[in-house]
């Protein structure tokens, strides 16, 4: 038997797990998070797939049922105009979840780009970019978004909301990416690549980004919840999605006006929103634990 064969036999392929398998295994072991993830997927698919099968669309007015409590006809009840609350809630979920996911993807892209550039190059780029980060962290972002959205056209409000929430949502994670990049910059594999004449852009894309990917992924998951929170908050105040379109925020705002006598108009959309946010936090935490078991920031087990 040659040496190489011994070495090869020494590693039993059945026991060797790639990083991806490890992460997946750790994630699957976290049962609440798996349930939450499945629930989120079901809610997301459901809110797009279900409306065609419902007897009412979200704009239909049922004059025979104004402010009806939940019944077999209207599962979530109706509001003061006679609109079916289930159809409305589903429509609101479509908007809110779509905005959440888009914002998370865009802001993660910005965070990764800015963080790696600032951390890798340092110097004036770092100073300038970090000043922008400080500036955006200092202004209360939801308030600034509120200035802009009311003047946008109704049909394009959602586009603007996604853009603005993303522009104001990347700062903290870009700081973390920057910190990690700065420590990667002086590692041997990056220096080796640099001495071999690899262009800076190539180094960032092929050597830095894969190494900061876990932070970016964790952050994307956590931003989904934050973005949904931001959008519903703005819509609640009337600065987000505007009628006739609905989001969970506008539904909750509608519900609160008659909350004391007709609580279901408030409770159903609010409940759905809380479930979505709860699941998003659980999944984000689980991803953090699975991708970065050393940090143990939020779900610390006792290490001795």
């Amino acid at each position: 038997m040659t040496q190489a064969a011994v070495v090869q036999q020494g590693v039993e392929t059945a026991q060797f797990a790639s990083r991806r398998t490890l992460v997946l295994r750790r994630l699957l072991r976290n049962e609440p998070a798996v349930v939450a993830l499945i629930l989120l997927v079901v809610l997301f698919v459901g809110c797009y797939a279900l409306p065609p099968f419902l007897p009412y669309s979200y704009t239909d007015l049922d004059y025979s049922a104004l402010q009806e409590p939940p019944s077999a006809e209207h599962l979530f009840g109706t509001n003061s105009l006679g609109q079916d609350l289930l159809a409305q809630t589903l429509r609101g979920m479509q908007k809110s979840m779509l905005i959440g996911i888009c914002v998370a993807l865009i802001s993660a892209t910005i965070a990764a780009t800015v963080g790696t550039i600032a951390g890798y190059f340092g110097g004036w780029r770092d100073t300038m970019l970090m000043f922008v980060v400080d500036l955006l962290l200092v202004v209360p972002s939801l308030l600034l978004i509120g200035i802009i959205t009311p003047s946008t056209k109704q049909s394009r409000t959602i586009f603007w909301l996604i853009l603005l929430l993303a522009v104001f949502g990347w700062m903290i994670s870009s700081r973390m990416v920057r910190g990690l990049t700065m420590s990667l910059r002086d590692r041997e594999f990056v220096q080796a690549a640099r001495y071999m004449g690899v262009a800076n852009r190539q180094i960032i894309v092929h050597h830095i980004i894969p190494n900061v990917a876990s932070i970016v992924i964790i952050d994307t998951a956590l931003t989904v919840g934050a973005a949904i929170l931001g959008e519903t908050g703005l819509s609640y105040l009337g600065f987000g999605v505007r009628p006739p379109d609905v989001s969970l925020g506008t539904l909750i705002a509608d519900g609160t006006s008659s909350m004391t006598t007709f609580p279901w108009v408030f409770l159903f959309p609010a409940g759905v929103l809380v479930v979505i946010l709860f699941c998003a936090i659980l999944v984000g935490d689980a991803l953090r634990d699975a991708l970065d078991p050393t940090s143990r920031k939020l779900r610390g087990g006792r290490r001795t």
Partner: protein, 325 residues
């Protein structure tokens, strides 16, 4: 130390300049305060509209308007509202209202949150720890505007069960409040409870989660074992050595939480009808009032910066290594 403070101060001033310029330009570009005049029917004569535009300086370019605003702002004059009253008239009274809410809410939230988190860490995986963990997760996923309304619903239920108006949920005081100093005080507290709780719950949930994990990290470390083995009681070891060390990361969290509190206060003021700066801000967006919006944003920015500074001070108090550096 003085040099460090001066540099920090300079950076803050530059940041505030940029922040106010950003807000000022955004508001000037997107607000059209003349619309309320133009849409009147019959339309007012052009002379009136031009006069109003000149009064609001709308005929000048934005940098000129901003320069004028800054020269007033450094002297404490934040310009006039669209209606013509000075912004500063209402500003200070409203700041008092908002600060009362934010400071009370964050202090109660922080203290209770830290205690709950530390308690959970000491009793890890016992029933009380699990209850605290799940509850804090749940509270974190309830937005401020839902929490406030849920509290109102609960307060209504309590009021009707007891047959007495225990909790008030509109305004800061009752209009009809009369009588002695004591009844005024009680009236204010009745109005204060729900809004403060709304903000405090949020802070509580966040702090208890982070505190629990920071505490768990600390409890496993060698110096706790050393403290125990040199004869300290468990309680002394945990409080004197454990809690203090585990508080250090909370100082950083505090800096980030201030902006969340400011935003939370906007919703809370709106829902409970408190006439603070958050409520004013929402009003001024609908009346398209640039000066109010800029003044409030500037104040929010100052609060966030002061929060950052405070968190550095707390960090230096807790962590001797920071003081040396």
């Amino acid at each position: 130390m003085t040099g460090f403070l001066l540099r920090r101060l300079l950076k803050y001033i530059v940041l505030l300049m940029f922040a106010s310029f950003l807000t000022f330009s955004l508001a000037s570009v997107f607000f059209h305060p003349l619309d309320s005049l133009l849409q009147r029917n019959p339309r007012p004569p052009q002379v009136v509209i031009d006069a109003k535009a000149a009064e609001l300086d709308l005929d000048k370019p934005i940098p000129v308007r901003y320069a004028k605003w800054v020269s007033g702002a450094v002297r404490g004059d934040f310009g006039t509202t669209v209606g013509g009253q000075p912004v500063s008239d209402q500003l200070w009274r409203r700041i008092g209202v908002s600060l009362r809410l934010v400071v009370l809410g964050s202090v109660i939230g922080t203290v209770v949150g830290v205690v709950l988190g530390a308690w959970g860490a000491i009793r890890q995986y016992r029933l009380s720890d699990r209850v605290i963990t799940v509850l804090s997760l749940l509270v974190l996923s309830i937005p401020t505007f839902v929490m406030a309304n849920l509290l109102i619903l609960a307060a209504l239920r309590v009021n009707s069960v007891l047959g007495v108006q225990v909790f008030e949920y509109t305004g800061e005081t009752s209009a009809a409040a009369s009588g002695s100093w004591w009844s005024h005080f009680v009236d204010r507290v009745q109005h204060l409870v729900l809004p403060t709780l709304t903000l405090a719950f949020f802070a509580m949930a966040g702090y208890s989660r982070y505190q629990r994990n920071a505490m768990l990290d600390v409890l496993g470390q060698d110096f706790i074992r050393t403290a125990r083995s040199k004869g300290l009681t468990r309680r002394r070891a945990l409080f004197k050595h454990g809690l203090r060390t585990a508080l250090i990361p909370m100082a950083t969290l505090f800096a980030y939480s201030v902006s969340g509190l400011v935003t939370g206060a906007v919703f809370t003021e709106k829902i409970f009808g408190w006439h603070g700066i958050g409520e004013w801000y929402i009003q001024s967006i609908s009346t398209e009032d640039t000066n109010i919006v800029v003044a409030v944003t500037l104040l929010g920015a100052v609060m966030i910066l002061v929060g950052g500074l405070l968190s550095d001070v707390i960090l230096a108090l807790l962590d001797p290594r920071v003081r040396v550096a």
